[in-house]
Every structure is written in structure tokens, then in C-alpha cells.
């Protein structure tokens, strides 16, 4: 804990420090921690941060992808052109964010609209990945809303992939650990905004407290409505308790047209059942079977072989008469 502590960031538009600063959040700010029975409550509530992506200002330039690769030192492969602009073709363990392009003809105006959405972790308030994760401390959530993967604790099982309602986490085939956007927790910790928000040329991506971002979104939505987008709105899905990455959409009534942004994302009931009821009922059932056996073993009489049985066996083998099988068994 050396050096002064940087204050909480309220914008991404600033130059990072080069002197050592103490992180302004850490272990003591955990509000959730994967596969951890009892977690001490954090003593302070950090102001929730949020990244706002205004799809109407996004020019699809992929600066966020470049900045993300550079800041996180990842190494996405040089693939091939598959007839689309998305490269790489999907989020990968080396590509935490991705521009997704949709050519959509607006039925009302019959004008082409090129809907471009920056895909990546939504940093949900109720993270499905964390809920599904079996490895203690592999996924953590801080009180400022950041959901981070701690690769050191990750066991590479892929449960988070099943838990996430947005299909974001990716498992590396190289080190079998899960990777996703970290909301640049290392930058936020020293009072900076995420690298993508810093780089975004048109500031379609902005960063600050969640409240500020909502106010900013209101302004953007008003502007969009003035330009004829009656259904412009904020995408902050309640199904996952709201997210710390939000969108301003021209057509907030139809999120699906933006490369299948889920209409009403929530943690799948299958995952809820799997990590909830199945676990507890399962443990109970197994516990009961084990205890039941032990109790029965103690109190119930053991099923021993009697002397008479051994004698009959010997008679049978020696050909001496033995009690015949009972009639009803004859039908055997």
C-alpha cells in the first residue's frame, strides 16, 4: 500500500499517472466472490461506476478494440475475411470487446441504418458468471460494480460461459482460464477510465459514476428524439439488476436488431436451478443416503449367513436332500 491513494474516477478523459499510487479499491471492497460461502460485508460502498456506449455516436472504427488489445497486452490472431467487417469474428480470450455490425432497413423510413454495437462484458449487478463459478475467488464483484476475473483462481471449467446471459466469457485454450473485459479495473484503481473510453474518437464510449452516465444518457436520448428517433432509450436491463455497462440505443424498443442484444436478459432459470436448488437438494439427498445407511447399519440387524445355510449348501453340493424350492417359486 505505497504512495497516496488516487480518488475515484469520474471521467475517462485524463492522462494516467506514472508514479505508484495505491489502488482506490481492492479486496476490502468485495460485495460478491465466486464459490465463497461467507464473505465479510465491505465496510464502505464505493460510488458505482459505469461505462455508457452511445450507439448513435459510434462510427464502428474499432479504436476500442485496438486500445483494449494494447492496454491488456493481448494478442488476437490475424484471421481471414469472412465477408463481414467483424474481425476477429467473435469475442475471444484475446479480444475482450468487439464491434458487431448489422445492416438494418428501417421499415418506417425505408432508409438503411448501419447499426454498430460494441459488444463486451456488461458488468451486471447480478452477474451470472459469478453465480455459476465453482472456483473460490475466480470471479469477484466490487461495490463500484466492476465484475473481474481473477485468472490465478480460475480453473477453466467454463461454467461462467453457461452462467452469462450475454455470452461474453471466453476460455483460453492456452492456459485454460476465463477472460473478459475487466472494465480496466487496474486503471480505475488509480483514478483513470477504461482504455476504450479514453480512446473512443467520438466519445460514443464515456465513463464515470453510474448516476452521471444516466444523466449524460438522458441528454443523448433527448438529442436523438429531436432527430426523429422516437424510441431512443437507455439499455440498463433490470433482469440482471441493471448493468455497469449501458447502451444508448436509437431503437431501445428493439434491442435485438443490434446483433442480437438480448431483449430481457436474465440469468437462465436452468443456471439458477443448477446453482441453487439442485445443489442444496443434491447435498441433502446425498447426506440423507449416507446418514441413512450408517443409521441402518448401526440399528438394523446385519444380514448374516446362518449355519443352517452353510449346511444346506453342503448337502446340495453333495447331492443330499435339501428343502425343495417353495411352490410359487417353481414357476421361476
Amino acid at each position: 500500500m505505497s504512495g497516496t491513494m488516487a480518488e475515484q474516477p469520474r471521467t475517462a478523459v485524463s492522462n494516467p499517472p506514472v508514479r505508484a499510487l495505491a489502488a482506490n479499491f481492492g479486496e476490502q471492497d468485495l460485495v460478491r466472490r465466486s464459490a465463497t460461502g461467507s464473505l465479510p460485508a465491505p465496510q464502505r460502498q464505493l460510488t458505482p461506476v459505469a461505462k455508457l456506449i452511445d450507439v448513435s455516436k459510434c462510427i464502428g472504427c474499432k479504436a476500442c478494440q485496438s486500445a483494449c488489445i494494447e492496454w491488456n497486452d493481448t494478442d488476437p490472431a490475424v484471421g481471414v475475411n469472412a465477408g463481414v467487417y467483424e474481425n476477429p469474428h467473435d469475442l475471444t480470450d484475446q479480444m475482450y470487446t468487439l464491434m458487431r455490425f448489422t445492416e438494418w432497413v428501417n421499415p418506417e423510413t425505408s432508409n438503411l441504418e448501419w447499426l454498430i454495437r460494441k459488444d463486451g462484458c456488461m458488468h451486471c449487478a447480478d452477474p451470472g458468471c459469478l453465480k455459476a463459478c465453482p472456483a473460490p475467488g475466480a470471479i469477484v464483484q466490487y461495490t463500484n460494480g466492476i465484475v473481474d476475473f481473477i485468472q490465478a483462481n480460475c480453473i477453466g471449467c467454463g461454467y461462467c460461459v453457461k452462467g452469462c446471459p450475454f455470452n461474453i466469457p471466453r476460455i483460453s485454450q492456452a492456459d485454460h482460464r476465463a477472460y473478459k473485459c475487466t472494465l480496466c479495473s487496474d486503471r480505475v484503481a488509480v483514478g483513470q477510465g477504461p482504455a476504450c473510453a479514453k480512446a473512443c474518437p467520438t466519445q460514443a464510449i464515456v465513463f464515470g459514476t453510474k448516476e452521471d452516465m444516466k444523466k449524460h444518457a438522458d441528454g443523448r436520448i433527448a438529442d436523438l428524439k429531436s432527430r426523429g428517433f422516437a424510441n431512443a432509450g437507455l439499455y440498463d436491463p433490470p433482469g440482471v439488476g441493471g448493468t455497469h455497462v449501458m447502451y444508448v440505443l436509437h431503437h431501445a424498443d428493439k434491442p435485438g436488431i443490434y446483433s442480437d442484444l438480448p431483449e430481457n436478459p436474465r440469468i437462465s432459470p436452468l443456471v439458477e436451478t443448477w446453482k441453487g436448488m439442485t445443489k442444496y437438494v443434491g447435498l441433502a439427498v446425498m447426506g440423507f443416503a449416507a446418514v441413512g445407511s450408517i443409521v441402518h447399519g448401526i440399528f438394523g440387524r446385519a444380514n448374516r449367513v446362518a449355519r443352517e445355510d452353510e449346511e444346506n449348501a453342503e448337502k446340495l453340493v453333495d447331492g443330499r436332500p435339501v428343502p425343495p424350492p417353495a411352490s410359487e417359486e417353481r414357476a421361476g
Binding site: 485496438s66 488489445i69 490475424v78 481471414v80 475475411n81 465477408g83 474481425n87 448501419w114 474518437p201
Partner: protein, 813 residues
């Protein structure tokens, strides 16, 4: 740019046409989204493709590539007929009222004086009538039939909305919507900015594209105002600087010109450069030409340049042709008349048209020197890379010397951005291996040649031996020394002509700016328009003050802008004839009764009265030119001209092919295709993820766009049985390439004249056979070897191709 990047925040309407700002200049384009967000500005995009700029536009209109002039003259026609003209601005600040000589006329797509053999015009009649007083005759009431305004009205009348649809393929309703939105900017309180780039320049009539928009902006009163202007988005970090510093065949520094063979001596040379004002009381600042020329000569050859030898006038080559531009050089090279070629950066094998011709030309060189931080295809043009560079090294006798240079992170100096800001930067990394700075390499070549000339003599050694080279270390002049040389200094004590006892600038001291330069050899200055960049106040290019009063976006204390740190050119035109700003909410300058005040360095004499001295101080007229006299080879007004390879004949004159005065080399005539053999209209362009042929060396950018592709509409794909993501062959008269196919709704077939459907094929340019990205063909394999009539910029934007599905490269079908 006439304005600057940060000025765009002040605009009400952005027209991105002839460019793709969001993809080619994303961080500059921020100011468009800022204007939209904070001023409610609107963005219009007119382009053959629905680009990523269009994705955030308020309105998009398709257009066939090569027909921008018809579209823009259509808009001018619309503005004039609907009385949407900033009259006070147009009457005072343009040459609308000037009267043109008899004998000037226009019909069937041609102006008077056309000579088909010489492919040139006799331009003597393209001028004003000069009165006895020696000034141009004007008719302020604009009634005279031959005043410029009436000639313009008559000239644009043919470009009705129907004609625009026939030529451009733009549906009338979309054209009229654009024209209506633009015409709203004729009021003093609504300004429009034009952001364009190679989409307009890379045509055989490129200069006229820009003329058309400049004229439109003039009649709307949008030049010299905040949020207005003609903003050319330069492509490279210092392409503006290298052009300002005269690194062109026909230029010296500061846009002085190289002499021609007819200008046998300095007096003859200066005779056509008197630039006497054509209207009383006008500034016509080029009258100071000799001060800048002599100061340059003193900077080049120091004491050797004296009045007696015409300031070493003969040390400069005299041209026998308009210019030895890159097309002429590669034509000569292909004829075996060029032995050596030096590429300081640049990658001509990828960047020049008709790659087949370029490879043949380079193969005839005796020696080729390349200086680059990266591997380039040019340096390896002799290397066989299978289908991607199918040559036989043994048959190529060129000796190639590849020199490693530093890049921006390992160098120090200044770059001039699109907004004419000279910005200093500092090094932060050690060059790899033995890479050296360009300055060191050029100095070494010069010093060694000078040594050879000292020892052995040779052809005309004088300029070489006398070139001024007094630096701390002649082997590697420092950036600051060179910057001071560019700024210029006094060679002797400069005294006040009115009071000789007062010394204005002591000998050896830097001049404060070009106003102190003299033509008597008492001052030296490398580039007069840059003077002021490094004066006695220090390195103004390194200033970092972020003050911006009234949010104009001028940032006068941030670095240095040429000329004289002025941020918006012609800014006097932001005020009316009483000196009051047209739009008080966006004031730039204001006349306070005795002098001009405001938020920018006035582009006018500080005490020039608003009702007398007009804003366009570089022009002899003092006013801007709707009618450009004989200065443009292809006409004083823009007129629609089809590309040389066009899918449709020229509606105005079917016999006319391309630009009638564009230079064509004989060897290229058989290499033009026609629309029967090549039915589809192609255009080449950049993607935002790549920078020309550099970023294919960068693994990150290569991952974002890994492989060469072409873009076609669903209709064309269906017609040719092409599937998205599959391989296609695209070929023109000059060559054939293979690429992946991107099938998209962002390209639509265009319904042009006589029911012809024109299909567009989009071809990005970023792949070659070096670097981290997938090896690929290059777009310039297909493009025609013809340039703009005035400046020879190659026509990459409009030519004809054919397309069909095929097998992957290297796989014989």
C-alpha cells in the same frame, strides 16, 4: 483546411462528400459529433457507398463516382433559383460583379478556345475586361449579361434535378433534400462546412470538384466564418508540411514556383509575378513575392546568392514541362529514360496506378534507393511472391539499396496538420538496430556527393558546393537548427526604412515573421509562410497553451499555425462591410472603428477599412473567384466531365471522353477499357482500421482487417453468382486481382441516364506481400494511369472492372 479541426464544433451543417471523415480521420470527426451533440448540427453524406460516416449521418444520398460536379452545380443552381444566396457576402467578397471579356463561352461541355490536337485550351479570353484605369470592370448591379454572376447562372442552369439524377444516379427526392438542407445555410446565422479528401481529388477532374464546392460555399457566405470553410482532410501527418516546403516538382518553398525555360532570367521570372491589384485599394499580398524568393535563395546558397548573379537564380532548374510529376516520371522510367529513383518513405508499387506498368518501369531502373522504417513492396518489387508479385528476379537488373530509418517515436521535429498547425514532438524510443534518422541519411548523401564534386568536379557543381550547410554537426543537423533556418533571420542589421537609425532586427537574430523579410538580400528564410515558427520568442511550435476564449476552437497559444499563427483563413470575411460579424454569436473578427479585433489573427491589414479592403488578400481582385480566369486548365467554371473509363456516355457531349485537357501518355491509350468489356464502376478507398500499406505490418490492425476484400451489392452478387465470404476475381484492362467478397446493402445499384443500371464495386487498398496481414493483391493493379488536368493526381476513384466468382489465390481453377 481553411479552418481547423477544432473549429468544426461551431458548424450547423457538415457535408462529407468526396471523403469519408469518420473512417479516415476518426478523431477529427469527433468535432462533427460534438457539433451534432451541442449545436444540434446536421450531417449529410453523399458517397457511392454507405460508409461508416453515413452510419452516424442525419441524411445519406448515393452518387455515382466521378459525377460530383454535376451534383454540386445542381445545388448551386437550386440555391440561385430559390434565391438562397448570401447576397451581401457574394456581391462584396466574390468576383460576381466582374465583367468577363467577349469571346468567352461554353457549349456542349466545352469552353471556347479548345484545341483537340494539343488537348488544351487557349485561355486568353477567360479573363476580365480591364478598364482604362487598369482595373477590372465591374457591374455591382449584376445586370451586365457578361458579368460573372450571370455567366454562372447560365452555366449551372442545365443542372436541373432531373439532369442530376440522369448523371449521378441520385434519386431526385434525395438530391432535393440535400440541396434544401444546404440552401438553408445561406443565412448569415447558419454555416456549413465541407469536409472532403481523396474522394474528390483522385479524379481526372479532381480540382474542379473542389472548385464547385468552393463556389457553393462562397455564394452561401461560408468561407472565413466559424464552422465554415473548405476543409481538405489531408491524408498524412505531414503531407501538408511537405507541400508547404515545396517538395514538389513544380514548387519551391511557400508555394513559390519553379521557373520555366521561358523565364530565362530573374527579371523575366518576376515580370509575371507583379500581382498588381485588379481593384483599387486591394492588398494582393503576392506583391511581396520577390522578398520571399530572395530570402529563400539566401537561405539556400547564403553569400553565393548576390544581386549580381540574380540571387543564384540559375542554380534552380528550369522546367520544360509543367511538372515532372510521378506519372510523368514513371512514364519516362518505363521508356528507360530514368536511371535512378529514391523513395524516402512512400511505397509507389502500392500507391501509384497501374501496378503492372510500375513494376515494368522499376525493372528498367539502374538503381533504386528506399528509405523506410518498414519493409515495403517497392523495396522488394524484384522478389517473386507467387500470384501476389509474379516476377523473375533474374531478369530484373535494378540495384536496390534499402536503408532503415527511424519512425516518429525515435525522431524529433515538427509536423503540420490539416489545420496548418505546426506541432513539435519529442523522441521516446531507441531506433532498432542501425536505423538512422532521415536527416542523417540525406546529410550523408549530400556530404559524400559534395566531397566527390570537390575532388573530381563534374556537371555544374556550383549549387552543390555553395549550398549553405553550417550546422553544429554537418553530419546530422539538429531539428531546432533547421527550424530556425526555416523561420529565417536577419543577415545584416535591419533598420526601419522611415528611420534608418532604428534597428528593427539585429544581424543574426530571427525575424519575428515574414513581414520583416526583404528582397535586398539582407534577410534569409527557408519558407516564408512558416516564418514566425521559431523566432526570438523561441520554438512557438512547442507551445502548449490551451486557452480558447469564446470557445472558437482557435487555441492561439497552442503551437504555431501558418501563416502568422492565423487559425481561420479569410477570417475578415466573417464580418460585413461595416466590420460587424455576420453572426454575433460566432464572432471571429470585429472592426472597432480604427482596427480589427477578435479571436484570431486578422487575415487582413490590421487597419484596413472594412468597406475598402476585401478579405481575399492573396488575390489581385481582393475578392474570391467564382470565375477563375485562366488559372485552371479545364475551365473557369467547373463542368461535368465523365471519368476516362465511364459506364455511361457524357450526357452533355457523348463524344467527349473524360477530361478533354487531361494529359494522356500515348502508351496509356490502349490501356483504357470500355463499359462493354468492363461493365461495373469501381472505386478504391481506405478502411478506418488501416493506414495505407503501413498498418498491415501491425499485428493489431491486421487482426482488425486481415484480408483483401471487395464490396458489392446483393444485386450484383446475385447477378454473378457470388456468395459473401467467397473468393472473387476482379479485373480491368490493366490487371486482375483475387479478393474475398463482402456482399452488402451499403452499396446499391444506381439508375442513371436512359435507364442504365450502374453497379458499383468497392475496393479497399491495404494489402500487399509484406507485413503481418494476409498476403493479398493490391487495388492499384486495376486503376488507370491518368491524372487530374491541373495537378496530375491519379484517378483512383472511378474506373471500370469486371467481376466473377473464382478459386482462392494459388489454386488453379
Amino acid at each position: 483546411m481553411t479552418n481547423s479541426w477544432t473549429d468544426i464544433r461551431n458548424t450547423d451543417l457538415v457535408v462529407v462528400m468526396g471523403g469519408n471523415a469518420a473512417e479516415a480521420h476518426p478523431c477529427g470527426f469527433k468535432w462533427v459529433t460534438e457539433a451534432k451533440a451541442h449545436r444540434g448540427a446536421k450531417l449529410i453524406v453523399v458517397d457511392p457507398r454507405f460508409t461508416r460516416t453515413a452510419s452516424v449521418a442525419d441524411f445519406y444520398a448515393p452518387i455515382r463516382q466521378g459525377t460530383d460536379i454535376a451534383f454540386l452545380l445542381g445545388v448551386i443552381n437550386h440555391c440561385i433559383r430559390n434565391d438562397r444566396v448570401q447576397w451581401e457576402y457574394t456581391k462584396a467578397f466574390t468576383n460576381a460583379s466582374f465583367i468577363v471579356k467577349e469571346g468567352f463561352g461554353y457549349s456542349d461541355g466545352l469552353f471556347t478556345g479548345y484545341d483537340e490536337e494539343k488537348r488544351d485550351y487557349d485561355r486568353t479570353n477567360w479573363d476580365y475586361e480591364i478598364g482604362e484605369d487598369g482595373f477590372a470592370r465591374v457591374d455591382p448591379t449584376l445586370q451586365h449579361p457578361r458579368c460573372v454572376w450571370n455567366l454562372l447562372k447560365q452555366h449551372v442552369a442545365v443542372y436541373t434535378p432531373e439532369m442530376v439524377q440522369r448523371i449521378c444516379g441520385t434519386p431526385q427526392d434525395k438530391f432535393l433534400r440535400v440541396a434544401q438542407m444546404i440552401s438553408e445555410c445561406s443565412t448569415p446565422t447558419r454555416t456549413m462546412t465541407s469536409m472532403y479528401a481523396l474522394g474528390w481529388t483522385q479524379h481526372s477532374h479532381g480540382s474542379q470538384n473542389i472548385r464547385a464546392m468552393a463556389m457553393l460555399q462562397l455564394i452561401l457566405g461560408n468561407i472565413g466564418v466559424r464552422g465554415g470553410g473548405m476543409n481538405a482532410l489531408r491524408g498524412h501527418s505531414n503531407i501538408q508540411g511537405l507541400t508547404d516546403l515545396g517538395l514538389m516538382s513544380h514548387l519551391l518553398t511557400g508555394y513559390l514556383n519553379m521557373p520555366t525555360e521561358q523565364e530565362v532570367d530573374y527579371a523575366t521570372y518576376m515580370q509575371s509575378r507583379q500581382f498588381r491589384p485588379l481593384r483599387p485599394g486591394q492588398t494582393s499580398y503576392w506583391q511581396n513575392y520577390s522578398k520571399f524568393f530572395v530570402s529563400l535563395q539566401k537561405a539556400m546558397w547564403g553569400d553565393a546568392a548576390r544581386a549580381e548573379n540574380d540571387w543564384c537564380y540559375d542554380y534552380i532548374s528550369k522546367l520544360d514541362v509543367p511538372s515532372y510529376d510521378i506519372l510523368r516520371m514513371f512514364e519516362l522510367m518505363n521508356q528507360g529514360r530514368v536511371n535512378g529513383y529514391i523513395c524516402q518513405g512512400f511505397n509507389p508499387l502500392m500507391a501509384f496506378p497501374d501496378r503492372g506498368k510500375c513494376t515494368a518501369a522499376l525493372s528498367k531502373l539502374k538503381f533504386l534507393v528506399t528509405m523506410d522504417p518498414l519493409e515495403t513492396e517497392t523495396a522488394r518489387f524484384w522478389e517473386n511472391h507467387g500470384e501476389f508479385n509474379d516476377v523473375n528476379p533474374a531478369s530484373i537488373r535494378t540495384e536496390v539499396i534499402q536503408l532503415p530509418t527511424t519512425c516518429f517515436a525515435e525522431d524529433e521535429g515538427s509536423l503540420t496538420n490539416s489545420g496548418r498547425w505546426l506541432q513539435w514532438f519529442w523522441p521516446a524510443a531507441t531506433p532498432p538496430g542501425e536505423a538512422r534518422k532521415d536527416i542523417w541519411i540525406m546529410s550523408q548523401i549530400f556530404l559524400r556527393m559534395r566531397e566527390l564534386y570537390r575532388k573530381e568536379g563534374g556537371a555544374f557543381p556550383d549549387p552543390i558546393l555553395n549550398l549553405s550547410w553550417n550546422y553544429h554537426d554537418p553530419n546530422e543537423p539538429e531539428a531546432e537548427e533547421l527550424a530556425k533556418e526555416i523561420n529565417g533571420r536577419a543577415l545584416v542589421d535591419l533598420t526601419d526604412p522611415a528611420d534608418p537609425s532604428r534597428v528593427l532586427v539585429p544581424a543574426g537574430k530571427q525575424v519575428v515573421n515574414f513581414s520583416q523579410l526583404r528582397d535586398d538580400g539582407s534577410t534569409m528564410c527557408g519558407c516564408w509562410i512558416y516564418s514566425g515558427c521559431f523566432n526570438e520568442a523561441g520554438n512557438n511550435m512547442a507551445r502548449r497553451g490551451t486557452e480558447d476564449p469564446d470557445g472558437t476552437g482557435a487555441y492561439l497559444n497552442w503551437t504555431f499555425a501558418w501563416p502568422l499563427n492565423r487559425r481561420t483563413l479569410y477570417n475578415r470575411a466573417s464580418a460585413d462591410l461595416q466590420g460587424k460579424p455576420w453572426d454575433p454569436s460566432r464572432k471571429l473578427l470585429e472592426w472597432n472603428g480604427t482596427q480589427w479585433t477578435g479571436y484570431d489573427v486578422p487575415d487582413i491589414g490590421p487597419t484596413s477599412r472594412p468597406d475598402q479592403v476585401m478579405p481575399f488578400i492573396m488575390n489581385q481582385e481582393g475578392s474570391a473567384r467564382l470565375f477563375s480566369r485562366g488559372m485552371m486548365r479545364d475551365g473557369p467554371f467547373p463542368a461535368h466531365m465523365e471519368p476516362f473509363e465511364s459506364p455511361v456516355p457524357n450526357v452533355l457531349n457523348p463524344r467527349m471522353r473524360g477530361n478533354p485537357v487531361a494529359r494522356i501518355f500515348q502508351s496509356d491509350v490502349p490501356r483504357f477499357g470500355n463499359s462493354e468489356e468492363f461493365p461495373f464502376a469501381a472505386t478504391t478507398y481506405r478502411l478506418t482500421e488501416h493506414f495505407h500499406y503501413w498498418t498491415k505490418h501491425n499485428k493489431v490492425n491486421a487482426a482488425l482487417q486481415p484480408e483483401f476484400f471487395v464490396e458489392i451489392s446483393h444485386e450484383l452478387a446475385a447477378m454473378r453468382g457470388i456468395t459473401g465470404g467467397g473468393w472473387v476475381r476482379v479485373w480491368s484492362k490493366r490487371g486482375s486481382v483475387k479478393a474475398k467478397a463482402v456482399v452488402t446493402r451499403r452499396i446499391q445499384p444506381l439508375n442513371c441516364d436512359g435507364g442504365r443500371v450502374v453497379h458499383v464495386v468497392g475496393i479497399p487498398i491495404h494489402w500487399g506481400f509484406t507485413g503481418a496481414a494476409k498476403k493479398g493483391h493490391s487495388a492499384n493493379t486495376l486503376s488507370p494511369f491518368v491524372g487530374d488536368a491541373n495537378i496530375e493526381t491519379p484517378g483512383f476513384k472511378a474506373f471500370l472492372v469486371n467481376i466473377e466468382p473464382t478459386t482462392p489465390p494459388g489454386v488453379v481453377s
